[in-house]
C-alpha cells in the first residue's frame, strides 16, 4: 500500500527543516508527499464592510502569492529530485486544516516544524505543532 506523507509549511526556517526531513523520508521510501500551506483565516472573524467587499479579490491574491512564493518553488524543486509531490493551499485554522487535508489525501503521517514565524507568539498562544499534536488522527512528527 502506497503511503502518503503530509508536511505543513510556512515561510519559517523551522518549516524548511521539516520539509528537508520529510523529503529525506520520502526519498528513501518512495512514498507520495503532500506539501501543504495553510493561510490563517477564521470563518468567525469580525470585518468591516470594506473588507467584505474586497474579500474575494484578496483571497485570490493570497492564494496567488502562496502559490508563487511558498508552495510552487518547493514542489518544483522536489519534483526535479524525482519525487511524487503535490502542493496544496487552503484557508483556515492551520492545525484543523492540516488534519482535514490529511484526511482528504489519506495521509498516514504529518510532519511540521516546531515553531512558526514568530517564536514569541508560539510561546504565548501555542503553535500549530501544539494544536496539531492534540487533534490529529495521524501520527505527527515535530521537527525542531
Amino acid at each position: 500500500m502506497s503511503e502518503v506523507l503530509l508536511v505543513g509549511i510556512d515561510c519559517s526556517e523551522c518549516s524548511e527543516r521539516a520539509l528537508d526531513y520529510a523529503a529525506d523520508w520520502v526519498g528513501a521510501t518512495g512514498q507520495g508527499l503532500i506539501v501543504a500551506h495553510v493561510i490563517q483565516w477564521s470563518p468567525f472573524s469580525f470585518q468591516t464592510p470594506q473588507e467584505n467587499e474586497e474579500r474575494h479579490k484578496r483571497r485570490e491574491a493570497e492564494l496567488e502569492r502562496a502559490h508563487v512564493e511558498i508552495v510552487d518553488p518547493v514542489v518544483n524543486r522536489l519534483r526535479e529530485r524525482g519525487m511524487n509531490v503535490q502542493g496544496v493551499i487552503r484557508h483556515g485554522h492551520p492545525a484543523e486544516t492540516l488534519c482535514a487535508v490529511a484526511a482528504e489525501f489519506g495521509a498516514t503521517h504529518i510532519v511540521v516544524g516546531k515553531t512558526g514565524s514568530s517564536r514569541i507568539r508560539a510561546q504565548l498562544f501555542g503553535s500549530v505543532a501544539h494544536s496539531l499534536v492534540q487533534i490529529s488522527k495521524q501520527p505527527v512528527t515535530v521537527v525542531p
Binding site: F44, S45, Q47, E54, H56, E60
Partner: protein, 516 residues
C-alpha cells in the same frame, strides 16, 4: 505598507485637521453650529414625520408604513421569522460552509459586519428615551416590532444578495440601489424607470441617513456620555463638543480616508467584546434584581395595554416602542442589505435567513436587556428630558454597578465609532451610485462625512435626533415600496430553497454532516 505610502495617505487627513483648527478655536462654536443647522434639520424632520392624529396622539405615517410592511411580510412569508430561525442558526454556525470556499466571506462574517453597524446608540440611548416617554409598556411593542421586523430584513437581504453587482476584479457591490433598479426591471420592463427612480431616491436618503443617524446621532450621544461621566455640566468637556468631534473625525478619517484599516480592525475585535460585556452586565443587574422581575414584566404587560398617565395613552406607548425598534434594528430601511450582500453564496435566500438574527439580537435581545435594566432599577422617569437618553441608561447601570458608567462610556464610544465606520461605507456606496466612482467623488463624500461628525457632537440633541430619525426613516419609503413589487421574486427563491432543504438535497459540511 511603506512609510511613504502611509504618509501620503494620512497627510491629507491631518492637513484638513490642522487647517481647520483656527476656525474651531472659538467659544460658543457649539451654539453657532446648532443655530445654523437647526432650521434645516427641523424642516426636513417635519416633512418626513408628517403624521395623523389617533386618539390624541401624533402617529407618523412612516411608522405605519414600516410596521404594516413588517406585518404584511410576516404573513406573506408565513412566519418565516420563526420557521427559518433554526436553519438560520445552522447557517451562521457554518454547517453549510463549503470547505472549498474557505477564505470567502461567511454568513457569520456578513451578519457580524451588519450587526456592528446596527448595534449602536439606539440600543442604549434610544431605549432609555422610549421607556421614559412611553413607560415600561413600550418594551412590549418594541419586542413585537423587532420580531415583525425580522421578516423585512429577510426580504431585503435576500434581494440584496440576488441583485448584487459582481465585478471582474472580484469586488462586490449590493444593496437596495441595485435590487430596486435591476429587480424591478426584471419584473417588468414597464417598471424599469420606476425602479431607477426608487433607486435614486433611496441613494439620496441613504446619504442623508449616513450623515444623520449613522453619524451625527452617534457622535452626539457618545459625547454626552463622556461629558456625563467626567462631571456633567462642570466637566471641562461640557461645551467642547467640537473638540470631541474633531478627535473622532480624525480617527474615522484615518480609517476611511487614510485606509488605515488597522483601527477599524481593532474596533471590530473590541466591539463584540463590549457587546458581550454590556449584555452580561445587564443580565447581572437583572439577576441581582431577580425579585423585581415579575413586577417588571407585569408593568410591561400592563403598560402595553393600559398606559396610565402616559401621554397619548396606549397609542403613545405603542409609538414609542415601535419608533425605537425601527430606529435601532433598521428593518425595512435597507442599509443592512448593503452589508449582507458581500456574503459568498449562490442561494440568496440563505442570507435572508441569516439576516433574521439581526433584528432579533439587536432588538429582542440587546434593547430588551437595556429596557429591563432601566425598569428593574426603577430609573425610568416620564418627566426626563429626551436629550438625556444615554445618561439615563448610565444612571440605571450605575445604581447597581457603581463603576459601570466608565465601562459604558468606553462601550458607547466604541459602538458609535463602529456604527460610523459602517454607515460611512453605506453612504459612500449610495454616493458613488449617484455620482459614479472616482477619487474626487470619494473624497468629497468622506470629507462631508467628517464635517458632519463634528457638527453632530456640537449640536443639541433635539435637532440632531429629529434629523437623524428623519433621514433613516426616509430610506424606508423607496425601499419598502420596491420590496412590495419584488415579493414574488423572494417567495420563489424561498420556496425553491425550502423544498431543497426539506428534501435533504442541501450539502452539509463539518460536524453537521457527521450528525447527518
Amino acid at each position: 505598507m511603506s512609510y511613504k505610502k502611509w504618509g501620503a495617505r494620512v497627510a491629507p487627513a491631518l492637513a484638513l485637521l490642522v487647517l481647520s483648527l483656527p476656525v474651531w478655536a472659538e467659544e460658543g462654536i457649539d451654539q453657532r453650529i446648532d443655530q445654523a443647522v437647526k432650521p434645516l434639520a427641523d424642516a426636513v424632520a417635519g416633512f418626513i414625520f408628517s403624521s395623523f392624529t389617533l386618539s390624541g396622539v401624533q402617529v407618523p405615517f412612516v411608522l405605519v408604513w414600516l410596521l404594516f410592511a413588517a406585518a404584511f411580510f410576516t404573513l406573506y412569508f408565513r412566519f418565516i421569522n420563526f420557521r427559518a430561525f433554526r436553519h438560520g442558526f445552522q447557517l451562521v454556525r457554518g454547517d453549510y460552509n463549503d470547505p472549498l470556499a474557505a477564505g470567502e466571506v461567511t454568513h457569520f462574517q456578513a451578519l457580524a459586519t451588519a450587526l456592528s453597524g446596527t448595534v449602536g446608540l439606539g440600543n442604549i440611548a434610544g431605549v432609555a428615551v422610549a421607556v421614559s416617554l412611553g413607560g415600561p409598556g413600550a418594551t412590549f411593542w418594541m419586542i413585537l416590532a423587532g420580531l415583525l421586523g425580522m421578516s423585512s430584513k429577510f426580504a431585503e437581504c435576500t434581494l440584496g444578495v440576488k441583485y448584487r453587482n459582481e465585478y471582474t476584479d472580484g469586488t462586490i457591490s449590493g444593496g437596495p440601489m441595485y435590487y430596486l433598479s435591476k429587480g424591478l426591471a426584471e419584473r417588468s420592463e414597464k417598471l424599469r424607470t420606476f425602479g431607477k427612480v426608487l433607486a435614486v431616491l433611496f441613494a439620496v436618503f441613504c446619504v442623508g441617513g449616513s450623515f444623520g443617524g449613522g453619524n451625527m446621532f452617534q457622535a452626539n450621544q457618545s459625547f454626552k456620555q463622556l461629558v456625563a461621566v467626567t462631571g456633567g455640566d462642570a466637566s471641562w468637556l461640557a461645551d467642547k463638543g467640537w473638540l470631541f468631534g474633531i478627535v473622532i473625525a480624525s480617527l474615522v478619517g484615518l480609517v476611511i480616508i487614510g485606509g488605515i484599516q488597522g483601527i477599524a480592525r481593532v474596533t471590530s475585535k473590541v466591539v463584540p467584546l463590549m457587546g458581550v460585556l454590556y449584555v452580561t452586565a445587564g443580565l447581572v443587574i437583572i439577576g441581582l434584581h431577580v425579585q423585581d422581575i415579575p413586577t417588571a414584566f407585569a408593568s410591561i404587560g400592563a403598560g402595553a395595554f393600559t398606559a396610565d398617565g402616559i401621554a397619548g395613552g396606549v397609542v403613545g406607548v405603542l409609538i414609542q416602542g415601535f419608533k425605537r425598534a425601527a430606529f435601532s434594528n433598521e428593518a425595512g430601511i435597507g442599509s443592512a442589505a448593503i452589508a449582507h450582500s458581500a456574503v459568498r453564496t449562490n442561494r440568496p435566500v440563505t442570507e435572508g435567513f441569516v439576516a433574521l438574527y439581526e433584528p432579533f439580537i439587536d432588538t429582542v435581545v440587546v434593547c430588551t436587556i437595556t429596557a429591563l435594566v432601566i425598569i428593574v432599577t426603577g430609573t425610568w422617569d416620564p418627566s426626563v428630558d429626551p436629550s438625556q437618553g444615554v445618561a439615563l441608561t448610565s444612571a440605571a447601570f450605575e445604581s447597581t454597578i457603581s463603576w459601570f458608567p466608565w465601562v459604558l462610556t468606553v462601550a458607547v464610544v466604541l459602538f458609535a465609532f463602529s456604527t460610523m465606520i459602517s454607515w460611512s461605507y453605506y453612504g459612500l456606496k449610495a454616493w458613488t451610485y449617484l455620482f459614479g466612482e472616482s477619487l474626487a467623488t470619494d473624497a468629497v463624500y468622506k470629507i462631508l462625512f467628517l464635517v458632519f461628525v463634528v457638527a453632530g457632537s456640537s449640536m443639541q440633541l433635539g435637532s440632531v435626533i429629529d434629523f437623524s430619525d428623519a433621514m433613516i426613516f426616509a430610506m424606508a419609503f423607496p425601499n419598502v415600496l420596491g420590496i412590495y413589487f419584488l415579493l414574488p421574486t423572494v417567495k420563489r427563491e424561498l420556496d425553491e430553497y425550502w423544498a431543497d432543504y426539506q428534501a435533504g438535497r442541501l450539502r452539509k459540511f463539518g460536524r453537521a454532516a457527521q450528525r447527518g
